[in-house]
């Protein structure tokens, strides 16, 4: 009897498994469950329509899936605001925003989704950074798009969203980086904004003498070592006509030591790191902003993408900050670095690619200011409003003047593998400087080249 029960139980379990594999209905259930689980993990947010719809040419229903890596809360809010505005025109359109962290799992998740047949409508990213998407046809060619062509975007902005001379992305806003400083602390100590490296070092010394930490660092996020180097490397490379520096390094035709300004950049950065705190290696971006707002350090080297979060962290608090481009020498030759920040591709294979195209055209035109005011990010188009911080307006004006180093003016960007290697060697250098490890800029370059050589050797 016992055996009979056991056999019956096994039979039931087996039937459960087999039907789970074959039944259509169960398939539906399991798909739904999977979607729900994934949705949780991906922090899905759905924009909701709150206003009366404006009559428009279409009442077509569409679900636009936006794959993005907007880490900052303000950006996600900005995205929802743009979507809500679009929904006023197209009330039957709904959005599904899928968020992943760019530094860890954005592209892996995206490529897994694409490989399994999912087709998101809008894909965030600069096309040059994701060449596989271009070669496999997951980005619509926008070279003849009337809206994009009517915006008179700079060659750098268009270069940042192009691949092999064709435009594949909508450039929404741009980012820059440099030194954000505590205005009150500078005023109290009578410090002036430095324009040369020597002046910056003097400022650091005065802060130290006054018992203040000159810098807050966030090297737990690899981008922070990278941006500290860019000012020297990009500016010098474009000055010297080395627009193909990244292409040459990736092909192995040139070595990092062939570009003397990479070492120069390391030396300039090393000087700044004399005043690094013990937590420099373990702070991430968020933590560094908290420390900066709490007045624990006078300066923070970060990007304009932090402004929204910085303002949110200040809230009603009594904290004022401003920005200057970090000097790279004593000749005042630093330039504002510019790179397209939010760029989006439209997937031509997706079910609602036509509506997604309309959405992106809306975002870059009518929706642009909504985005900019929500995120405090300067627009590529140069459009501005009184609701933007004066700092953001100033940055936009500098870009408009053309005295900038634009990433889009390089022939090719670093691939993700080279970017990782570049950042890893810079992080090791930073760690050595912070902990007194004694790594020299030359040793850093040797490590960096070894990583590059390995990438080239394993690419066949």
């Amino acid at each position: 009897m016992k055996k009979l029960w056991a056999l019956m139980l096994v039979g039931v379990m087996m039937t459960g498994i087999l039907t789970g594999c074959s039944s259509d209905k169960t398939d539906e259930i399991s798909t739904k469950t999977e979607t729900e689980t994934t949705t949780d993990a991906k922090s899905e947010t759905k924009a909701e329509t709150t206003t009366e719809p404006i009559a428009e040419d279409t009442d077509k229903e569409a679900v636009i899936q936006v794959f993005h890596y907007m880490t900052q809360e303000t950006k996600r809010t900005g995205l929802e605001a743009v979507e809500a505005k679009f929904q006023e025109k197209y009330p039957n359109v709904t959005f599904e925003n899928l968020f992943y962290n760019q530094g860890t799992d954005y592209f892996p998740q995206l490529s897994t989704a694409l490989a399994s047949g999912e087709q998101p409508e809008v894909i965030m990213g600069n096309p040059g950074l994701y060449p596989d998407l271009i070669t496999e046809g997951y980005a619509m060619d926008l070279s003849d798009n009337e809206i994009v062509n009517s915006l008179n975007l700079s060659s750098g902005d268009l270069g940042d969203v192009s691949s092999d001379g064709k435009i594949f992305g909508f450039p929404i806003d741009f980012k820059t980086w440099g030194v954000f400083y505590n205005v009150k602390m500078f005023d109290e100590l009578g410090l002036k904004v430095p324009t040369t490296q020597t002046e910056l070092m003097e400022v650091c010394k005065k802060l130290e003498e006054a018992g203040r930490d000159p810098w807050i660092h966030a090297f737990a996020d690899a981008v922070f070592g990278d941006i500290e180097m860019r000012n020297t490397v990009w500016t010098r490379a474009l000055q010297n006509g080395d627009n193909d520096i990244f292409e040459q390094l990736m092909s192995g035709d040139k070595k990092v030591t062939d570009y003397t300004y990479i070492k120069e950049g390391l030396e300039v950065w090393q000087e700044r790191m004399q005043w690094a705190r013990d937590d420099a290696m373990s702070n991430n971006q968020d933590k560094s902003l908290e420390l900066f707002v709490a007045g624990q350090g006078a300066m923070l080297y970060t990007g304009s993408w932090s402004v929204g979060d910085l303002v949110a962290k200040i809230g009603d608090g009594d904290f004022e900050f401003n920005f200057f481009v970090a000097p790279i020498d004593d000749s005042n030759s630093q330039k504002l670095n510019v790179q397209v920040d939010q760029a989006f591709m439209v997937n031509p294979h997706s079910e609602y690619s036509d509506m997604a195209l309309k959405f992106m055209e809306f975002w870059i035109t009518d929706g642009a200011l909504i985005w900019s005011e929500n995120t405090q990010l300067p627009l590529c188009t140069g459009v501005s409003s009184d609701n933007l911080l004066p700092l953001i307006k100033t940055i936009a004006e500098i870009k408009g003047s053309g005295t900038i180093s634009h990433y889009g003016d390089f022939t090719k960007p670093f691939s993700s593998e080279f970017t990782t290697a570049w950042r890893q060697s810079l992080t090791s250098f930073a760690e050595s400087c912070v902990s007194g490890g004694g790594m020299t800029p030359d040793e850093c370059l040797v490590n960096m080249q070894a990583l590059f050589d390995d990438i080239i050797a394993t690419s066949y």
Partner: protein, 299 residues
């Protein structure tokens, strides 16, 4: 003194004999659902992956690939960076395995008798095991930066190449020692008290009782804990991914696999690395498991 070596059962019946089917058939049927799932989600994908490891497959969103034979394997086995990831993984596994087992055993020795206090403490010690790996890692990253660094004015181990493996291992030990403790408690409770009484009558000291009764009879618990933690340690991924993504010194083999397959468009190479990792894991866990099984004794 008490324990005697287990004698191997001698089977005179062929594996698929009616006798064996009658004796073990029911058990096998119970195992079948799990076996089918295991075959479908582990074994088949593993064998399906082997052909890809012999190609230069770039991106998983592309179908283009060229057969390169064993080139991926020879490249990896002579590649400094890949071998470094193995070294990092082994270091992590060694610290984690020893730490979690020693502390788990120590806790079990203290808490194995049932009492209200012991039950509460056991629950508290086991609770970290219910926390997700990423959650544990993130909480500890704040413990390191906001508490330990502030109190002792030292750098967080997660930001220091020479300490990052140890720092991650501490998180893993904190999380899993409660699990080890439970297995050891189950092992301790299954040892008949008569053995200890007899040993006491024979004049055995506490140390002798532990050495000759407790430890030999705990071997099955050691087998379970050590084999399992060895496997968990060798495939560590979440901790470095969550809190030491940029540290070269924290890069483990599974991260190497992940980066190459998904991030760097070197899916063929990454697949070969995955297969090497799996084979090493299989060999080590099998060897350790067999070694402990040989030491097992019957009460």
């Amino acid at each position: 003194m008490v324990a005697k070596t287990r004698k191997k059962q001698e089977h005179t019946h062929p594996v698929f004999s009616r006798y064996n089917l009658r004796i073990h058939g029911g058990n096998m049927l119970f195992m079948l659902p799990a076996l089918i799932i295991y075959i479908a989600v582990v074994l088949i994908p593993f064998f399906q992956g082997i052909p890809y490891s012999l190609t230069n497959w770039k991106s998983i969103i592309s179908d283009k690939m060229i057969f390169v034979g064993l080139k991926n394997y020879t490249t990896l086995l002579t590649n400094k960076y890949f071998l470094d990831t193995f070294l990092n993984t082994f270091k992590f596994t060694a610290i984690y395995l020893l730490g979690a087992n020693i502390l788990g055993l120590f806790l079990a020795m203290i808490l194995w008798r049932s009492s209200r206090f012991n039950n509460i403490v056991r629950t508290v010690m086991f609770m970290p095991f219910t926390v997700s790996l990423v959650g544990a890692a993130i909480v500890w990253s704040y413990v390191y930066t906001d508490i330990i660094s502030s109190l002792f004015e030292v750098m967080s181990p997660l930001g220091c190449s020479s300490q990052v493996i140890g720092g991650m291992a501490v998180i893993a030990i904190w999380r899993d020692m409660g699990y080890c403790m439970l297995i050891y408690i189950a092992g301790l409770q299954s040892i008949p008290t008569e053995y200890y009484e007899a040993a006491r009558v024979d004049g055995a000291s506490s140390f002798q009782r532990i050495k000759h009764i407790t430890l030999p009879l705990l071997i099955p618990a050691f087998t379970s804990n050590i084999t399992l933690l060895l496997a968990w340690g060798l495939k560590v991924f979440d901790y470095p991914m969550a809190v030491a993504r940029n540290m070269e010194a924290a890069k483990t083999t599974t991260m190497y696999v992940y980066d190459n397959i998904f991030g760097f468009s070197k899916a063929g190479l990454g697949q070969a690395a995955a297969i090497i990792t799996t084979v090493v894991l299989l060999i080590l866990t099998t060897a350790v498991s067999r070694m402990f099984r040989k030491l097992e004794v019957e009460a």
